[in-house]
């Protein structure tokens, strides 16, 4: 039951972080100029109408009271009501979450499909021209702006060639698979260079370690060693890179969802910010923060499973 205790402990440690995140968002969004009631009423609102709406939404209460109410509701599992959509936020988020999860999972898979073979190729003959090329590409890709990449991919692989839908979420599994390809590729290409660098470095380290040298001397083939020892060990830092990248994924989804018109959480967040829908912004940040924490816990568990040397504490 150590794994369970580990998870419980990590979640407990995560709790102050989550509270901190909600508090920070709460303070920030209330500092930003702009008023949700005014925004909802449009350009022709009278001051009375704005005041009435503020009262209805409880925005005329003091800030600590508003935050208290938010946390109080949260304790009962209620995320509150969106002022701009006039709907409970739970279902709103639930509808958006699959899009963002699709993007993150799909991008992770693509990043692995790109990164693992390239890292393998590079590490097989370190110092060779393939290695040089892979290394250069991974260095170059570090400075790749995802918004720029997204625009160009949408135009060239989407609109011009018609190979993939340039925008939208698509219908059904096959539809999602093709619609989400370009956005996921955009995110994946942001993470792949890190993955390649980590994997390559670790593979090289393992390849020169004693037990691999021993295995080789026992007559195991180069690929056999690769598969059995090196790859498995190299997965550990690779996994760490991916786990740590989750907060990057989440950030990237905001820009990528905007460019590819995906109705995900990042898009909801941007809309929430622009309409000053405080409840939505708070709730989405909360969900995303939880996502980051959970993914990190899963990654640590997986690391422990892959590499028994690392003790899961």
């Amino acid at each position: 039951m150590t794994a369970l205790r580990f998870v419980a402990r990590r979640l407990l440690i995560g709790l102050p972080v989550v509270i901190g995140v909600t508090l920070l968002v709460f303070v920030l969004i209330h500092l930003v100029p702009g008023n949700p009631a005014r925004n909802a009423l449009g350009t022709r609102a009278t001051p009375q109408a704005v005041a009435a709406l503020e009262h209805r939404w409880g925005l005329d209460k003091s800030l600590p009271e508003q935050y208290g109410r938010f946390v109080g509701r949260l304790a009962t599992g209620d995320l509150g009501t969106s002022t701009s959509y006039n709907e409970a936020i739970g279902p709103l988020v639930a509808r958006r979450l699959p899009v963002t999860l699709w993007l993150i999972v799909y991008a992770t898979i693509l990043a692995c499909l790109i990164g693992v073979p390239l890292a393998l190729l590079a590490a097989t003959r370190p110092g060779g021209w393939v290695d040089g090329a892979v290394r250069f590409v991974s260095v170059a890709a570090l400075g790749l702006p995802s918004f720029w990449l997204g625009i160009l991919l949408a135009e060239w692989l989407g609109v011009r060639s018609g190979l993939f839908p340039a925008s939208g979420f698509g219908e059904g599994f096959a539809g999602h698979l093709s619609s989400m390809f370009l956005p996921s590729l955009t995110v994946a290409l942001g993470v792949a260079p890190l993955l390649i660098r980590a994997l390559r470095a670790e593979m090289l380290t393992v390849a020169t370690s004693d037990y691999v040298v021993t295995a080789r001397s026992k007559g195991l083939s180069r690929w056999g060693v690769m598969r059995r020892h090196i790859l498995r060990n190299a997965l550990v830092p690779g996994l760490s890179v991916l786990a740590v990248s989750v907060s990057f994924f989440v950030g990237a989804t905001i820009v990528v969802e905007k460019i590819f018109a995906l109705p995900g959480l990042g898009d909801l967040m941007l809309q929430g910010i622009s309409s000053r829908d405080f409840q939505v912004v708070q709730s989405v940040t909360l969900v995303l923060a939880l996502l980051v924490i959970v993914v990190n816990i899963i990654a640590d568990l997986a690391t422990g499973w892959l590499d028994p040397r690392i003790e899961v504490r």
Binding site: G34, N35, A40, L41, G42, T46, S84, G168, P263, S274
Partner: protein, 506 residues
Amino acid sequence: MIRTALALLVAGALVAGCGGESSSKSSGPVQKGGTLRLATLHDVTDFNPFTMTDNDSIRAVSQITEGLYKTDARGKVVPWLATGDQTSADGLTHTMKLRPGVKFSTGKPVTSSDVKWTLQKVQGGETWSFLMTNIKSIGTPKPDTVVIKLKQPSAALHAVLALFANGIVPANYGGEKESAFAQKPIGTGPFQVARWDKGSKVVLERNPTYWRKGFPKLDKVELIGVPDDSGRISQLRGKQVDVAVSPPWPQVKSLQSAGGLGVGIYAPSQIRALALNTKKAPFDDAKVREAVSLALDRNAMIDAALAGNGKPAGSFLAPSVPYSSGEQDGAADVAQAKSLMQQAGNPTATVEVILPSGEQVFNTVAQIAQQNLQAIGLKVKLVSLDQAAALEKYQEGDYTATVTGITSDILDPSELVSYYVASEGFTTGVDTKPVAKLASQAEQEADESRRAQLYAELQQKVADEHAFVPLMAVPYSYGVSDTVKGFAVNGTGIFDLSNVGVAKGS
């Protein structure tokens, strides 16, 4: 007065029909049934017709409810759920008979009490009541007769009744709670709400009880919110949607040449303007304001921001609004502007101009204005704020200058004029008493030509303040696939989907 046909410019393959079906290059007859997928700027944010204010919500609810009067595709206000209006000699009592056989989508027939309840709801509401202040009482002598009594005669009544918010809904929300009704509004229109995925799309389905036989042609309409300009166009080009609102102007030309689709450019009914706060230096000096207006190169703005599709605006009333003084030639007079600046003592302070971020047209216009003003010695600092923050600063008068826009929701000057009066000249801080007097005279005037004259005078007065400086009139535009037939837009930029069909094989 400019009350021309509203399908002013028709580009590409699309012919924006005037009600009827448009001819199209693509073959195949208009299908009965089918689904139209339409990409809007945003999803519906509010489905309560009494409180909504944004274009996309208005576009959606306009397919669901209908008013006593309606603005048609030619830009005329025509009787719709009313068969006509018998006006008393003093112009104060309007007796309207309801069209027989009209039912709500629930199957319940429309009666005068539904009309009364709806209009009173608007009158007592927070959002649109300012248009209804002239209504003294609403009588229901018979189930099919409504009598509207006014405080003063008004030529704007029919246009006001055509406002989307005055679309008739069942009295007391048909027995539902307001919150439930606001999820699924009920009306007499061609469509009803099938599903609303908040934040992404609304699915409408045909209203089986619709009173116009043979309409609507479509079975289903999906209104999909796609906030990103390029995203909407990508989806149109990729045939993921059939219609996309407001394609980015720079792409209009290439869209037209792409084949398979066209871009309909309709009445120039949105005004973009530069609002100058007359309570802040240097714009407290009328000479400086006039110099600004003279220095602006409106034609360059239209070329760069709208790819040439627009008109230099001469009034806060768009050319599509009746009695608008409409257009001007748009040429800048820098020499005159400079001499005015000199008379004003060449103020040297840096002027902050608020730029609502994320919108290409505003961005371009603001940067051209910046260069224009620098040419007459006014240093400009652009402060880019997101729309919500920009709106707050503007409405609270906490700004020096800002680029902004305004659109009329009815085809009558009274809406914007009364807002101008009530808001100190669109929050520019000017004295609006002289305008208020003219406005009430004009609204009561029964004689067309006299009314036109009064409105011309009123617009001149507003223009002479040079506080709300009109820049250009922007048309509504829609990218439409060739498979779509009969797509039409009225003078307030709202489409009517009852006549629309999709060709077979799409």
